[in-house]
Amino acid sequence: MCGAVRSIAGTADLDQFTLNVTVRSSRTTRTRRALVAMMLLVATLLVVDHQPGDSPLAPARSAVRDGFASAGSGLGSLWPFGDGAEVKRLEAENAQLRTDLDAARGEVAKVADVERERSRLAELFDIKTPNDVPKTVARVIKVGASNFDDGIELDKGTDSGIRIGMPVETGAGLVGRVVQASRSRSTVQLVSDATFAVTVRYADSGDVGTASGQGAGKNLRGDLVALDSRVHAGELVVTSGTDGSLYPAGLVVGKVKTAESGGTDLRKRVDIYPGADLHRLDLVAVVQWQP
């Protein structure tokens, strides 16, 4: 009797176990199918959005950015920390700017005369420089909010004439280029980004080469400079504006920090520090230039 009861209980346990295994196996199969389906969906979107030129997903991306832009600007003011430190930083920056302004006033007087002469010559020879191209001034509203993207976001977009590919600068030098633009926002890839490159001309020696980013907080690397070149420390580096270039000629990129001939290298190693202070960006100008 006792054995029969044990046998029945054992059979019930086995049935329950079999049921559990079946349910779990069914769930695993459904999970796998769902995973494969979602991976296919994501892979399709990746390939479609990676197409060169205008992505068909760009309107959807813009709509999401613009939608969040209006909501986000209100919520951003709710952040309760950091304002005190920000005020102190701004006060220190203000004092420094006053000192710089005094020095700059003296320089302006000298430059005005040179500029008059340059304009006359440019008009005479029909040469266009960055100063002749219209610019849109925009405010930086977000700096690198992701761990693998140190780009900046501007408070203006296509409604203000900003288009993908346009160069962005401060008075001191090139900041980067617009890589995304919705109606009211645009994203700028900084010159320090490791995927950024621009053809440059060294102002004194006249050498032409490329300058490329090496990551956030690092200087630019100058390439394609011949060993016998006269490129030297302190030399101004500007965009070359060669045919088909993404940038107009004459935009300041930075200054040469070091130019060395390495052991077995066939080219000089040039270290360029950016002209624009990429850590303190506030107002920038988007140069309405399209190649």
Binding site: R30, T31, L45, L46, H50, F68, L75, W79, K142, D149
Partner: protein, 165 residues
């Protein structure tokens, strides 16, 4: 079903808004806190792999709308980590350290997945050290926050109709 979709959408949208609006002010050891990743892994932990994967895809797509990377870049890593965390947690105890460990492992997978996809589409060049640094810090931070976030997300996900995808 409708109520559950609304709950899931609310959690994802709240995480994205917090990430975009408040997190730019918060860095720990030089790394931005990833609230979206934490929310997705918490959803996977509570609601299982399938709902976790839906949250991962949705959150990844919206996150990518704000980044210069192609749409879908963030989703791949989040999707894989949500599938793994959700599957393991289904049979696991609800001990805080189990949640912390699973979310830490999920964070590493999500970070590496993102970097691999972005790099393979030529949208990212970064150093091995930076990737390891970000992955480790996110694993530690997300792991430490996971038990608390789980408590926060659970009522949002389980109130009203029962989850049964």
């Amino acid at each position: 079903m409708k109520l559950r979709n609304a709950q899931l959408a609310f959690v994802v949208a709240a995480a994205v808004v917090v990430q975009q609006v408040l997190v730019p002010h918060v860095r720990l050891l030089g790394v931005y806190v990833d609230v979206v990743m934490l929310a997705v892994l918490s959803v996977a932990l509570i609601a299982g792999p399938r709902i976790g994967m839906v949250a991962a895809v949705a959150a990844g797509l919206v996150t990518d709308a704000f980044s210069p990377f192609p749409i879908g870049t963030a989703s791949v890593g989040l999707l894989l980590s949500a599938a793994l965390v959700g599957s393991i947690s289904e049979g696991a105890d609800e001990l805080p350290w189990v949640s912390a460990g699973l979310v830490a492992i999920g964070s590493i997978i999500a970070t590496l997945g993102f970097v691999l996809v972005a790099a393979s589409f030529d949208h990212l060049q970064t150093s091995f050290f930076h990737v390891v640094h970000v992955a480790v810090v996110l694993a530690v931070v997300n792991g430490a926050l996971a038990p608390f976030i789980r408590k926060l997300v659970r009522p949002l996900m389980t109130s009203g109709t029962r989850l049964s995808w």
